[in-house]
């Protein structure tokens, strides 16, 4: 170490850093040498803090502040925006913390949270995705709720891209995609939590930055819900779970900046290593203790490691903590105290417990073969003290460390008006368009992925992600879980994202994403109840990106509020930005709906021949931002905006119809339009469909078939319920065909436009991903 700044302390591997006299340049050098990742202003604030304290800091103290002040831990950029729009929407939550907790019935709760794991996955997709799952599962666990289902929205670049076009050091989208899916598979399947929903999106704007968002749904009893803050003076702090090692050092700093060509070499150490077979017994042990009420509070160790978790528990509990760093159980020798303090090694939880319960808590972990050590004590006061060999090596005020200075970043707006682009819809060959769309990478069957995930472990998945006749299952809109053996009440789970609309108009992009989420939930008969989110954006220091973020959040809050959805938790990921430009602004959502009676769930597969098909919602002819527009490269970005009042009214009506048993099957209309929805319904039931778009007004057939206008469903209704459905929906229901035979046909007012056998079309839809991925 450079002698002018560093001086050995009395403790081996702990250095005193001379910053009080340091000028700006010196501060920057110190920042670089210690890899702190702090800004010039932040470094000055730290220097001034120690000037006031009248002493120099240790390296572990500086590391601790740097962790806490990273964008990843502090949300310093996003918090001012979230506080204004999103935070008020948690008021209906039963509890908030590492995950949002919502009421399920008078005695039970469910919890939900989603988190991004984008940066690690771009470097090491298999491990990055696995630890993404691992982290989100701990968030659910530390609320005292049992992890019950996983939801994984993932976003990749163009699978067919020539690798030589990619910026140096970037991994090929195909490699990332298969690695991420394998990571989710091996971690999720091994810990025994079913992966029931998610989504995959492909666009060249994710070429250099893939997104891996991992969501988890938990379930538990109200009386077992646990806090995340320190509770009482004299309590003991127990670190349980995996051994602490040198992996994931500076993970949060690395997640708070742009990846570079060198990241793949230099940042490898910032990627954490997951271990599902430590996690699985950890879940058992923690749930056993939570149900015995032997845990007063707990929090998982994620970004920032011990440093972050001790700080946050101390701040929210307004109590002090004293930690003995020598008590931490280590995976390897030779770890420096600061490395132990910030390591992001996986599968760890910090638990506060009554001193009298210490032996019992340790014995439960011992039974489950989970390492656990008492590493500290809770005191009165508002500080954090760390000792090494009895000597104090860190002594900081909690409020200073944890409360990072917020950044109000400049915003620069763009025009949000769409443009018509080339109009291809009147010229294209309908058969060619239909079949290219159904086998498009963003539309085609996801069964290559879904079958690799155990979607029904636990025996609670009543409506599966692929539902229908065995061998013919097709895409549903949401999965339904039946969490309690003795009750028919269920939870529907779904995911959504509308990055293309958001790239034109981020505010409308959020409205469309919420609209789609609600469509998905009501399609199975659920009442939308809460959502959680990952807000993935480029570099917020770019004012246009900051504007995208601001507008997306404003839209999300407005839409959630209008739909009566609580937003009890959320997550932000910035700096998904590289040489090839920023990612599409990506608001990825996970939504949960309440199903009053699981037995009344509606699925997307066509149930029988000779039933009627209705388009619910408005006829739409706009093709802006649609799959069709991308496929034919029209540049058309004129889309129909969401009318939230209408969304709310129609979702209510659909929910009532579903619970009245009026819908034989139902599917929302989204990517690929009416045609795709109809085809997917036919595939799942192995029953043909005759569509007639004559009832949908004038305009090209392609525009009526492939428009992705919001707030629309396709529903199968038996002839005996025709009157009731038409009465209930009035002009919102338009007849668009019947079910019959083994073909999919399209006519316009009786004039036949397209005929294809179900089997041929299914093969095109089914094989597209298999052909690419093998």
């Amino acid at each position: 170490m450079t002698e002018e700044y560093f001086e050995a302390s009395n403790v081996p591997d702990v250095w005193i850093v001379r910053i009080r006299e340091a000028g700006e340049e010196d501060l920057e050098r110190i920042d670089r040498i210690l890899s702190l990742g702090m800004s010039a202003e932040e470094l000055i604030m730290v220097r001034n803090y120690f000037r006031e304290k009248g002493r120099e800091p240790t390296d572990i103290e500086l590391q601790s502040v740097a962790q806490a002040w990273s964008e990843h831990c502090s949300y310093k950029t996003s918090k001012p925006v979230l506080r204004r729009f999103i935070f008020p929407l948690s008021r209906r939550a039963f509890a908030t913390g590492d995950a949002g907790v919502m009421e399920f019935d008078s005695e039970h709760v469910y919890s939900l949270k989603m988190e991004s794991h984008n940066h690690p996955s771009a470097i090491e997709p298999y491990g990055g995705a696995g630890t993404g799952i691992g982290g989100i599962v701990r968030d659910i666990l530390c609320m005292g709720t049992r992890p019950s289902a996983l939801v994984d929205p993932i976003f990749f670049g163009n699978l067919d891209i020539d690798a030589s076009i990619l910026p140096p050091g970037t991994k090929h989208p195909k490699y990332l995609f298969s690695g991420v899916v394998a990571g989710i598979r091996d971690y999720g399947n091994r810990i025994g939590v079913p992966t029931v929903s998610g989504g995959v999106w492909f666009d060249s704007r994710y070429n250099a930055s893939c997104l891996v968002n991992a969501g988890c749904l938990g379930f538990g009893a109200k009386q077992d819900v646990t806090r995340n803050s320190l509770v009482e003076e004299g309590d003991v702090l127990i670190l349980a779970g995996g051994y602490t090692g040198k992996d994931g050092i500076h993970g949060v700093n690395f997640a708070s900046r742009i990846l570079t060509e060198q990241s793949h070499e230099e940042d490898r150490g910032a990627v954490q290593l997951g271990d599902p077979i430590t996690k699985e017994p950890l879940i058992h042990a923690v749930m056993e203790l939570a149900e015995e009420h032997k845990i007063k509070s707990m929090k998982d160790l994620g970004g920032g490691g011990l440093s972050a978790v001790v700080g946050e528990m101390s701040l929210s509990g307004s109590l002090a903590a004293e930690i003995d760093i020598d008590s931490v159980h280590l995976r390897e020798r030779g770890m420096k105290p600061w490395e132990i303090w910030v390591s992001e090694s996986q599968e760890r939880m910090l638990i506060s417990a009554d001193r009298r319960d210490l032996e019992h808590v340790l014995s439960v972990f011992d039974f489950w073969d989970v390492p656990a050590s008492r590493i500290g004590t809770v005191h009165k006061g508002k500080g954090i003290v760390v000792r090494c060999g009895g000597t104090v090596i860190l002594d900081l005020d909690t409020a200073f460390v944890v409360k990072a200075p917020e950044c109000i970043r400049p915003v620069k707006s763009r025009s949000v008006s769409g443009r018509r682009g080339k109009q291809a819809d009147a010229r294209v060959d309908l058969a060619e368009a239909a079949e290219r769309l159904i086998s498009d990478i963003n539309v085609c069957s996801r069964d290559w992925i879904v079958h690799m995930y155990d979607y029904e472990v636990g025996g609670r998945t009543a409506v599966k992600p692929l539902h229908g006749s065995a061998g013919f299952q097709s895409h549903g809109d949401a999965s339904v879980l039946k969490p309690m053996p003795e009750s028919w009440r269920g939870l529907a789970v779904s995911a959504s994202a509308q990055p293309w609309i958001a790239s034109v108009n981020p505010y409308q992009g959020s409205l469309h994403a919420v609209d789609e989420l609600c469509r998905n939930l009501v399609a199975v008969g659920a009442r939308p109840d809460a959502l959680t989110n990952c807000l993935n954006f480029g570099n917020p220091e770019n004012p246009e990106i900051m504007w995208e973020f601001h507008e997306s959040v404003r839209g999300l809050a407005e839409a959630a509020d209008a739909m009566g959805l609580a937003v009890p938790s959320g997550n932000v990921s910035f700096y998904n930005d590289r040489e090839m430009g920023p990612i599409l602004p990506t608001v990825s959502l996970m939504g949960v709906g309440i199903v009053e009676d699981v037995r009344k769930s509606v699925t997307s597969d066509i149930k029988r021949k000779d039933s009627l098909l209705y388009l619910i919602g408005a006829a739409d002819r706009r093709l802006g931002c649609s799959e069709f527009a991308r496929l034919f490269d029209t540049g058309d970005t004129l889309f129909t905006p969401v009318d939230l009042k209408r969304t709310s009214r129609l979702c209510g009506a659909m929910c009532s119809l579903a619970s009245a048993g009026m819908l034989l099957s139902c599917h929302d209309i989204s990517q690929g339009g009416l045609f795709t929805s109809a085809a997917e319904m036919a595939f799942g039931g192995n029953i043909g469909i005759d569509i007639d778009i004559g009832s949908l007004g004038t305009g090209s057939a392609a525009s009526r078939l492939f428009s992705e206008g919001p707030t629309r469903w396709l529903a199968e209704v038996s002839p005996e319920n025709q009157k009731a459905v038409e009465m209930a929906l009035g002009t919102d229901a338009t007849p668009v065909g019947r079910t019959s035979g083994m073909d999919i046909t399209v006519a316009d007012g009786g004039r036949m436009l397209y005929t294809q056998s179900l089997e041929v079309l299914r093969e095109k839809w089914h094989s597209a991903l298999w052909d690419r991925m093998g």
Binding site: N189, R190, M452, K607
Partner: protein, 278 residues
Amino acid sequence: MNRNEIAVAVLRIEGTNMEDEAAAAFISSGVRAEMVHLKQLEGRCTQARRRSLQDYSMIVIPGGFSAGDYVRAGAIFASRIKASIGKELLSFVDEGKPVLGICNGFQVLVELGMLPSGGEKGELLPRAALGTNMSCRYECRPAFLKNVNRGHCIFTSMIPEGAVLSIPTAHGEGKMTFPPSRSEKWIRKLEELDEMVFRYVDDRGEYAGYPWNPNGSAYNIAGVTDDTGFVLGMMPHPERTYWRYLHTDWTRTDMPPDSHGDGMLIIESAVRYVESHL
């Protein structure tokens, strides 16, 4: 034995993760089911947690990834059993008490050498393997099984011979594999001795290849029993279709969602056996 006196042990170690649905299915049938960690049978725990195989009338080894299955699936769990309660487990079966291995549990029974037996029973050494799926993929998907047992296996007493059940699979290593030179002989022997129980068929009840035979198993074998008929190992998960609402097509059949599913027949057969014989 009265049904409510029957105690079933659902055996687990770290990474066993399908004990919930296995226990739930047995509880639904009216018996007591307890999740028991192998440590509790070995005595590596506090006195309060100590259990003995003698406390139970049936053992279920459920699915999951015991010890991570980072080596051959089931091998670590099997070797731990062998090293501690192996002999007790054999006498448990000798007493006529049923043992059910589902998925990872079947892999454990094969690694233990308890299945298949084919007249070669004796030492606890594996005689066959559940190899990596032909697709080289872990897959979770619905499957159809034909009951080919002629009455030797106690787990199929309620299922007519030739009947087809819908019971899903979820595994990466389920391909029933015999020593190549003796594969034909093994299959003939299992048929002769009535130790073959379930074979994969397609949606019309015909023997078929992938994906209906999800792993490429020899002779479409999905489940086998031993010379006693008290032990059943199967890759598919009967507990996952104990109820109709767990079937993948329940929203399109006339059977009420709250009625029993196909998997119930296997569990109920075993429970009835214990009820009348123990």
